[in-house]
Assembly symmetry: D3
Homo-oligomer: 112 residues x 6
């Protein structure tokens, strides 16, 4: 679980440093991020699948890692994750494949 721990530690440490900056716009964006993924007309699990897919087509490794972690917590299955990967790689193209490699490696480390 080395890569997962490293990601979470760095994320937590730097989020603190960011919030130390005391910038109102940034702090509100951080709050919104929590709000957007809570239960609503769409449930948290499906929202995480959406967040994962968006992160993948936008090709952000850390965002993919974050949403994979959340998916894992919420009991998303490997088949569901791979269907999101399939859609994201189709919509986003083969330019997404290097991110897919790192995503699968991270999912493996999450112990799914």
């Amino acid at each position: 679980m080395n890569q997962v721990q490293a990601f979470n530690d760095y994320r937590e440490k730097m989020n603190e440093r960011i919030l130390d900056g005391d910038n109102k716009v940034i702090k509100r964006i951080f709050n919104l991020d929590t709000n957007a993924f809570t239960d609503g007309a769409i449930n948290p699990k499906n929202k995480e699948l959406i967040g994962l897919a968006c992160s993948m087509v936008l090709r952000c490794d850390d965002c993919i890692r974050y949403h994979l972690g959340k998916c894992h917590e919420l009991g998303v299955s490997k088949d569901e994750v791979f269907e999101v990967f399939g859609i994201a790689n189709l919509i986003g193209g083969t330019i997404v494949i290097p991110h897919l490699r790192r995503a699968v490696e991270y999912w493996d480390e999450l112990g799914s």
Copy 2:
């Protein structure tokens, strides 16, 4: 329903012209597109929500229109669509807002 009809007509007409080009790679990509959104570990409705969100963060008006049409067919509610819009505008940023305007206009025309 003017905008919806215009989009569907142009899409159908040009897809035919594209397939007339008889390029194997392109034809297979078109086939895959149909395959990726069929029922599987994730159901078609949730796949369309994913497709809609990806289209929005990647800022493609026509892709948004296509997935809004599919969402409408599958009975997705206005609140669900707006939650996808919310997530996509948060992840993708305010640069997405002009596409949100056109998406809401199209959703209105779909008669939701």
Copy 3:
């Protein structure tokens, strides 16, 4: 002033329709957008130059139009606008040029 009026009218009309959707995340993003460009450590004029440059490298015509309108209101000079254009086209590459054409047309219509 035809193009300017058309942009502002559509923008206003659809922003209302968006807010009618009553989605908390979207409403907060709209509020934040107003907040981020108010006076602070950086003054409103320089924030608009930043907003204009970001809109251009991200290649969003409507965002460019919006920030050009704000720049015009705040008395930004043509030379300043063109220096932003120069930086944005250098950073973003020649793929930005079609947006530069439409930006210059809009700036002309603003009556600078």
Copy 4:
């Protein structure tokens, strides 16, 4: 040839307006653009195929139109153009398809 003429006329008119702005950075970028596609280790035709592919994965309709026009002038065949389309849609993903539709329409109008 309506669409082709309209594109060329607008492009020419606005390029003049841009150069009127007399911004050194922009003028040099315009010069470089001419230089980059002249004969060298790679011939002009293959450079245009590269320019076309880049325009397509970056999803810029006007850039695609410009390079399609150049390809047409240089005698690029329909099969070559479609192979570029295939590669660009595979690398860039299905998000490119709406641009492919408009590209095929423009290519048809060029009279290939």
Copy 5:
């Protein structure tokens, strides 16, 4: 040849893990990727130059590495590679330069 070996090993290992996921859409995308770059109206070498340019404007280091490796295998000269770099940095802008640095480093390691 350290960096080249590391890239190829990781790529091979993770491609296997991806295909283990047994997702039909992903497997077909992988197949298509092989197909798109075979001989056709455009020869494999020119297709690789196109793939390299697309990878660079889309700013994907691993995709650049992959196509540089293929270019090297196919006997593409340093001058040809640099002309692709020039076009990609002009179209994609100076935001591409950090990827250009890593590309030149990788090309050096390939022993060209």
Copy 6:
């Protein structure tokens, strides 16, 4: 100052290797880059804030590092830097946050 030194050293070393390639287009782009940020209608400090914001919405860590270094040299304050971060994260969305983390870490290392 470890991360700062490493970035500057690698940047300098590879820029030399790039210029060794003796490609006219690339050399001119490098020259233009210096020109675009010199004093003009907009002063160098505000141009660096623009360059920083563009780098952030385009999500290029090395470009962010480069402009943070320049901002630091020109005496930009932490509050100004954070206002740029706020605008960039709002326009570019939460997909920018991982780059914000690395940017704050780099800014800390610059000794602000």
